[in-house]
Symmetry: none
Subunit: 194 residues, 4 copies
DNA sequence: TATGAATGAGCCTTCATTCAT
DNA sequence: GATGAATGAAGGCTCATTCAT
């Protein structure tokens, strides 16, 4: 009946609600309705949960992006949607995203972290590749490298907003718009892309 | 004899060396050569140390930036130097910067965190203001908001590099160059800035 | 396919290698290539294994003794061989012998322990009986009781040697020689046994 | 107010009463009326307590021996008293003595164990030395080595009696007498010691 | 008989915090 | 202000044992 999934689900839920630090393994097993010892059949510690959670978070993000971004849209609209999606996921899973993003969860599982984000990088990289071929973006752009820059830019500013500027919703939208514009400028969109 | 400073110094040193999680208050007081109880005369907990540490880290960063960036230089050179400085500080204090940057260290001291980064935002904001006045950058740029985007972009990618791509020094330089170019493009530098 | 034997063999092997305390039932079943639950079809706990193990150890010891001691030999030679055998077994199974010998493995299975050593006592007792009849040893000797003294003396000093004096092989031989002489003297061998 | 002593005292008391295995650190601190954490200021684990306990046990044994054995007595009486003393201590602290004697308490603290018994060996060694000088015992006796044999012999048989033959008090006395006689014979006492 | 995933009581250990000196 | 021995709540983790298959 999917105990592993139950653990991951409960963890995400509790981390989201009470914070990572405050969530004890005993809380997780209670929420997942399994025995204390069962946790250790699937994960060796709270930290070793992190890659699995990151994987789910990335899935959520990819799903949201794919849901919004359509092939027919202009690259401008597509990027706007991407920023929008990342902002919304970051809003919902603020602390978790911060943690995933900063890779703080122990240096030991780092290699796994790397793999986890690969699909997002790949997907955006392909998008840029296409746009480049179609001369919609600056020809000097290196798709793969730039995909990482975009993710870094958008996620970090989305975090900033929630950490520092959470005062009003309006501010968030403004920041989001500014980031989008910053991004479009950097990619040379709505220039003549010479 | 500056016990407060001793505590902060030792903390930074130990956090850098052994990681934040692994550093116990007992380690700090040992390193600082003070008694266990003395710690609590200056800080109420390990977490309440964080803003003080962040302050020092920001000072370090500001010092390094100011050391490199000169008034006579073109905005292009200035931004290149800024990226360089942030990359070098991030390299040296990887985990600490990640933590400061993502604000992960407990939500309770968040308000203090906000203030801490202000000088950097301010300083870069002023730089952009000047460049804008002199028409060296895109006129649509909002200096204050953009300052935050720049910091977000540069720090996050610097972190990425140390978390995922740490394989070779060469890769770091490439990424750094790409970020700089991305930034220049976004600001409209070396265009005619109309 | 002899699961009971597999359990005992694996236990002895693991106890010998990793120590008794450090050997978990899960280690034993893994080594014996049986399922966790199967263990309990044969033994009710780790402790209830002990008498079975002791039995095997005693068999090993008896085999080694019988292999060395021949009916044609003088009692002096025979006793020398016995000491030799016990020393060699103790050397090989140091911790196990200590445990068996001191009966430490819980008071609950004590009655079984008693039986286990019986063959050795019996065998030596008979040896002494013969020697006594042939006036080779002191006439005041009570064979059965003395058999126990001999085992106690030899095993305990063999242990001592391995616990304390393990420095050099030479020392072991000296101690062994001394024990043998002590024993011969106690039994009145090479006196006129009047 | 001697927390270290309190811990040792309580440990001995509880080990004696409930057995070593069954005694938890939490039991010890409760009995010693100290906080759980305080235990770890003095000892790193239950095992690391053992040498300290052994030391106390050896003191107890030495005290009892010295109390019984007088300089005016013949060597025969003196040895009888020694056997008596060891039997009585072993009776009282059966499991503890078995553990100390067999050195079972983890191989890690072995070097400390070695030192602990030294005073007893020394003392008996001196006694034998004197007896040898006065030609009361066999001239071939090596005092130091023989001291160890004696301790081994007496303790191991004392243990045997408590482990296997605990049926009646009478049996104990018989065994004790037999051991004494065995010992006297081995040392050549009441011979002409030529 | 055999399996092995699941159980959960219970112990050890850590470590931030206190307080008498 | 400074000390550091003492505290004890809190949680991680183990591992013998069970039981449905």
């Amino acid at each position: 009946m999917g105990k592993r999934e139950a653990i991951i689900d409960s963890s995400i839920h509790l981390f989201k609600t009470n914070g990572i630090e405050n969530t004890k393994i005993s809380d997780i097993v209670k929420d997942a309705q399994i025995a204390q010892g069962t946790f250790y059949l699937y994960f060796s510690s709270k930290l070793s949960l992190m890659p699995a959670i990151a994987e789910v978070m990335v899935e959520i993000m990819m799903k949201r992006i794919k849901n919004e971004v359509q092939t027919g849209q202009t690259i401008e609209v597509q990027l706007t949607k991407i920023v929008e999606s990342i902002y919304s996921v970051t809003e919902e899973y603020s602390e978790l995203m911060a943690m995933i993003y900063s890779g703080l969860a122990s240096t030991e599982h780092l290699k796994e972290w790397e793999t986890v984000y690969a699909p997002v990088y790949e997907w955006i990289s392909n998008l840029l590749e296409d746009a480049k071929t179609n001369k919609k973006i600056r020809q000097s752009i290196e798709p793969h490298r730039t995909a990482k820059l975009i993710i870094g830019l958008v996620e970090s500013t989305a975090e900033q907003v929630h950490l520092y500027d959470y005062k009003d919703k309006h501010e968030i939208e403004n920041q989001q718009t500014a980031v989008t514009q910053f991004l479009l400028d950097a990619l040379g969109i709505s220039d003549n892309n010479s």
